[in-house]
Amino acid sequence: MRPILMKGHERPLTFLKYNRDGDLLFSCAKDHTPTVWFADNGERLGTYRGHNGAVWTCDVSRDSMRLITGSADQTVKLWNVQKGTQLYTFNFGSPARSVEFAIGDKLAVITTDPFMELTSAIHVKRIAGDSTEQTEESVLVIKGPQGRINRAVWGPLNRTIISAGEDAVIRIWDSETGKLLKESDKESGHKKTITSLTKAADGSHFLSGSLDKSAKLWDTRTLTLIKTYSTERPVNAVAMSPLLDHVVLGGGQDASAVTTTDHRAGKFEAKFYDKILQEEIGGVKGHFGPINALAFNPDGKRYGANKVSLLIYNLLMELDVVVCCVSNEPCLWKVEIYGSTDVFIIVN
């Protein structure tokens, strides 16, 4: 598998999402126009025009029919994936930071930033099967966490919502009543802003990345801390391999603090860790600029068990999405897994 560079965005990217089959890749950028690509060959399939600000986040329905995007223009839009048409626009008084469809795609959780006199909030919207029946009203609005809520996702059976953000606390809320059920422990939890949160393929656990230079693995039901991965960089993005017990952490110094002398100073490599042993096992070199998004292609089934695509994008220098394979075939990006014989990779 060759590395694929997908050119098309004009401003730095902000978020990436594969559909369930792993054949489509949705990318969001500050250039207002979410784009969909064929994951296999990097061909641009289409764009979704209509937002009037940076697009921070997106999610795609299980059947790949509908796309939901959240933007700094204070709207969340529903799109027809195939036709690229807008189905509905939710209006908020502040930028939308994260969106996620629930199991069954009948609900969506949306977080909005603190803005002017508004505090940050988690909104639950009902998504109508027929978009002509779609309404604006929220099923539930949760307020409370201090600062921006960078990510909110659904727990098992849509019964809970898991949120994390600037106040470094992970919270589990009852998705019916909006009651706070659990909070991560102050001692063992993160110490600084949580930048990213990603669920395991089966939803059993999730991984949070923080500016405190660590990533932590949590039990989705009990919010018990299972593992901690310490690194040398602030963590901006986390991903878990759908096939192997690997986690990938990406990050680096803040863009404003990046030294200009040496790319190694910024710690921009993506690092691979053994999920169970918590040991660093490898890294992807070649970036100049902090890594802000990472994603694995969930296409294990389609390509056979030994290939996983790792998606990385780079904020500072490149506006292109780079798909990088984690396989035993040559690839532009060098992925090194050190000291381990049973793992794929050494790519170049």
């Binding site: 393929a201 089966d202 039990d219 960089r233 404003s256 999920k275 294990g300």
Partner: protein
Amino acid sequence: MAAEVMLMNEIEAKAASMAIDLNIDFNSIQLPRGEDCGIVSDDEDVYHDDQLEFDSGFGNVIVVDNLPVVPREKFEKLEGVIRKIYSQIGVIKEDGLWMPVDPETKKTLGYCFIEYNTPQEAELAKEKTNGYKLDRAHIFAVNMFDDFDKYMRVPDEWAPPEIKPYTPGENLQKWLTDEKARDQFVIRAGTDTEVLWNDARQSKTELVYKRSYWTESFVQWSPLGTYLATVHRQGAAVWGGANTFNRLMRYAHPQVKLIDFSPGEKFLVTYSSHEPSNPHDANRVVINIFDVRTGKVMRDFKGSADEFTIGGAGGVAGVSWPVFRWGGGKEDKYFAKLGKNMISVYETETFSLIDKKSLKVENVVDFSWSPTDPILALFVPELGGGNQPARVSLVQIPSKVELRQKNLFSVSDCKMYWQSNGEYLAVKADRYTKTKKSTYTGFELFRIKERDIPIEVLELDNKNDKIIAFAWEPKGHRFAVIHGDSPRPDISFYSMKSSHNLGRVSKLTTLKGKQANALFWSPGGRFIVLAGLKGFNGQLEFFNVDELETMATAEHFMATDIEWDPTGRYVATAVTSVHEMENGFNIWSFHGKLLYRILKDHFFQFLWRPRPPSFLSAEKEEEILKYLKKYSKKYDAEDQDVSMLLSEQDREKRRMLKEEWEKWISEWRRASEEEKLERQRLRDGEASDEEEEYEAKEVE
């Protein structure tokens, strides 16, 4: 980030508008009396002492005696005279001058009280005016008010001091008897200070002692490793002990900034500098020399910073530390200070100048002691536009006999490097070329231990090369020089012996184009780390000088500090908090294998605990060397055992972790299975579920 910067500006603007000073002087913060705010002090007794001083509050009051006794008419005139004298020294407080008057005769009593703003001013006034002759009959006797109390309390009859029963002390050298022959080091990161064993066999550290807020600025080992010194606002303290770190002694010195041990760790020199009340004056410097074991002040030096500024006539920089340099090896017999046109050499028997006078050397700008013998090397620069050449002389102490002298022509600067056994002295002299537009460098090599101290001149192959670094092999006869232009300088190794002539220096090799700017010899010699710090980002080359071959090249990115352990078995490289990222340290084997790496944010210090010299005689050491093979067998076997045990433990740990994980996952799956129907319902009956996918992946 930009937003955050704005925020800071806003805070500052806001603070300014509200007239709040954001620059907090921590010395000014005092907890409310009788309230510790939950901060437990372990310095109760020191605190108690302070309390006393605060309570009386007369630390800034002096008593001037032997004043003329004057009648009422002349009172104001005398007061004027006194005020004039004493306000030159410091600011007298309002109503701070009080001259009592006899209520009957209305005459003054011949003494007065003067209250200054600070105790420092009072102290200074006492020093400067005690013995001041107002006229023949009136010689001032000035005392601190607080001293009166002290002197009053002296009993009239001498009582013999109580002899305390002898209590055996702890074995302060116990760390040397570690069964695994490990070395210790201290690190300071954040607010924590930790002493750790370097357990290189297991590639990890083992904690010896840890304490938060152990020191207020830095820590320092004594030169033989017996004590760890900490620095506090009230003074310095030393810690040590058989198994842990207890406070052994305290040395009161308010606002102490710098400390220095004598090489035999008998004495501790402490230094503080105080802002003068008059901004035009130089800072006031206080230096105390303590006996480490008894804690007694053996001698104190006070004066303006100018007197302690080394650098000769045109000295610009501040005090160069250490002000006092110790000489005569580990016996701590002499210490010396550079002054204007002189070197003041003191001996520790009486803590006074040798022969009661300083060594007069016109225009001396630098000196250094032989590390082993009481010999001083001093440097006098060129004078009179080249009429009088620069010179280096060796002076024997205490006889002050000049052993050897060398005149150097058209020299612009000069640096002296002693070999650790005091056998050789290298003088690096920068000379002007004929045009005086540029300089080139040569070395004058003194063989101290040989008859008449022969001197040899060494010039590099390319004498225009800039010298970047120079280092003697410890206890050896070789030295290394980094020379050439900065991006890729060369490194040359020389020996003081050549193969057929023991009295001639010879070049061993030159390594071309190395990314190095610092040299770190192993304390045992033979091995050297050629390091590229700063601009070279932490390049390391481990070089064997016996074989003249590179053992390993490595990198500790951004490394700021490199230190060999005292045995020469390991090398520590550290990134300290001068950099924001990467803070922490690496431990390497002597041949450049990375053993382990520990990251710590806000990493300030890494210091190996020094070891005293071996107690074995030279013959005994030789014998051990001879039978090394025999001894090493035992240790090799031990090493192997450890490594087997380790891999066994490691395997066990991995197995446990995997098992734990499997257990957790299967538990989850069982629960998830129960919810399967519900999930299907949520998806309007769509059967495809994650579980199946998961199984598919398991096939592999």
